[in-house]
Symmetry: none
Subunit: 210 residues, 4 copies
DNA sequence: TATGAATGAGGCTTCATTCAT
DNA sequence: CATGAATGAAGCCTCATTCAT
């Protein structure tokens, strides 16, 4: 599935990229503060550093801004993950590193993740699939990391389990962003990573219990 | 923390209850279809079976409807959970039952949970805490179930772990609702319960790895 | 062909009629001064004596106002013509009376006719046919008056001629409105009626020439 | 009355002429399709084959384009008529030829005539007189043709009649353009010329009736 | 001369809320 | 208590025009 094209009136590709970057940056800040629906196009223009007229030279509708924002955030997050995947050696260690890295990206991009997370649903039926596709791809990255361990004999799991775990990891990452109001009071990101990883690997039953 | 009062012009308490029930029912349907922001008060009134004027006899602002909806959903979910908690005997079995029951409630109330889940953030700074409080209470229910097992010596966990697990359970419940587009293709609710419970209890390293 | 329905949010039919009459009256004044495109919806609302919100309780789009205006003007004009037609006796005299009466209606409703005449083309492909239909009906009225004379033996014309004459009469009526800047300097409405009628009946070759 | 000057930034007269011709050609096409108000300056620039910036090197405002279009159309039509006038011999025959020729020009330039006809009123109070002046001149051409016949004794009419007839001819020409949706179903341009000419000359009263 | 990115006033329309009946 | 007509602030978007390159 190709990227969904957001039409711009301006021809200069480089300029389009530049202006849209300004736009995304400005919009994220606003969406964090007040959400997509409560943010006006004029506010977006202002926060982006140009006029309302100029804003509309680079998008067609307000929703395009949301799409651009979501798209950009996913790109950033998955780009980071891709690196871990690339040096994946199929060991438990590299799985752990992948998870830790993902959680850290989420931590660094808390606001962005939260925004995307809360506002995707505001995308039209038209744009949603493109963003969902990216989500699926990220879950698949975790599946690959896990499958690597299985192939190496470090884990013994069936496909259904793999998929479930991949989903869990993905959601627990997001969870750090969308439940931070609650979690941050108790844990640092390092605590969070350690606790979640241990739980994931060992479950709640102590050795004693086995 | 007491329930947040939503002011009504009408005095007859029984009538207020009745009208608000109609309202919640109508609103949930609409919020599911189009989300809170895209739903108009007029539509809510119509779906509730009365006029826009009447609607405003029972609420003060549109946001009140959202609050009422969220409040009602949480009430229903936690009421169900409360029962399990009441007959909690501090055994792993009753923890498992609690989890299974929670996941099943979420399954039955998928739409409602999804709505609440996606729209809470639209609540004003004023109303949000009241709903968040309910969430906290639900997480605490799971904490209690777990602590029961610890007291009984069936589990050996420190507080930080307990809280983390409670959060995980809570989120995995919601996850069944908000990722159903993805999960339902792979799992039935029974699969989901079994897999998640096993994973929770035993982790991914399982027997072989130990 | 039925009248095209213009949807109103307000239910009370009588009120709808009343408000739309206000609206048409206000709009015509404005359209005369500045044309449809240069008139804003807010101006229409103001000229109609209510708020912009109220305006939109009675129409769906700005174009609806134009349609309502055109529709109303045609109704008024053709209602007047209908009377003449009703007492048509198939004599040259009643044809002359019909023409004179039509020209007089146009004279009395100069502004309205001019507006409709200049702005119909701004109607969407959707609404245009309904208005054009009315125009056709009016032309047909003149055809009937003429055919009456033919049946009575007062005139001897073939169908093509009848149609042409009907069109000419119709256009010469409008002409009094849309070329008044030029014609009024030279003729009174009575002059105009007399001259046009004579020309129509006798041509320019007159007695001398024959 | 001199031509109204439309200011251009560009000095090279030949270039101005060339660009404006491109502009008029492009604009007419668009005005025909969507009318003056619905056509944007950007569209005009594009249809003219140059950029929006360049467009504004040759005009001052969007309205200038309309003026240029109207002006050009009138020029073309009256240039053709002028020829007939030049060889006017004051005979009924040359009057007939003049009318036929005018109707034929209108037929050939249907679109242009229609545009001009429907959009002149969009000209500002500033530009309108210049275009109206051309219209008057055209009507005067017909007056001259008729007066020629009178001087030759071929017709016997008073001034008021002459003016009325000239107006009628002029309007009947336009009519072929602006009522073509209706007329073309019934008549070819030749039918139209013959019928209108006969009616004009002989009226509707048959010899018998006299 | 030619280009096209930038501007912002202003247009159309929606919708939460009020209030007279 | 119920109704629904009225209100107007505010939102999204367009487009004529300018100006730096």
């Amino acid at each position: 599935m190709k990227k969904r094209e957001v039409q711009a009136s301006v021809k200069d590709e480089r300029l389009v990229k530049k202006r849209r970057d300004q736009m995304i940056k400005g919009a994220v800040t606003l969406f964090i503060q007040k959400g997509f629906h409560r943010t006006t196009t004029r506010e977006i223009a202002k926060a982006s550093g140009f006029s309302i007229g100029t804003l509309y030279e680079y998008i067609r509708t307000k929703e395009d801004v949301l799409y651009l924002v979501c798209d950009s955030i996913y790109d950033q997050v998955s780009e980071r993950l891709q690196k871990d995947l690339d040096m994946n050696r199929g060991t438990l260690e590299s799985l752990k590193l992948g998870i830790a890295d993902y959680f850290r990206v989420v931590d660094e991009m808390q606001d962005e993740v939260l925004v995307m997370y809360q506002e995707v649903k505001s995308l039209s039926k038209d744009a949603l699939p493109y963003v969902l596709k990216k989500e699926i791809e990220m879950v698949e990255m975790f599946e690959k990391l896990i499958n690597g361990c299985i192939e190496n004999g470090e884990l013994d799991l069936v496909e259904d389990q793999v998929k479930m775990i991949a989903h869990n990891i993905f959601v627990q990452g997001q969870m750090w962003a969308f439940r931070r109001w609650s979690l941050k009071r108790i844990y640092s990101i390092d605590d969070y990573i350690k606790l979640q990883t241990d739980l994931l690997f060992q479950g709640i039953l102590t050795k004693n219990a086995l």
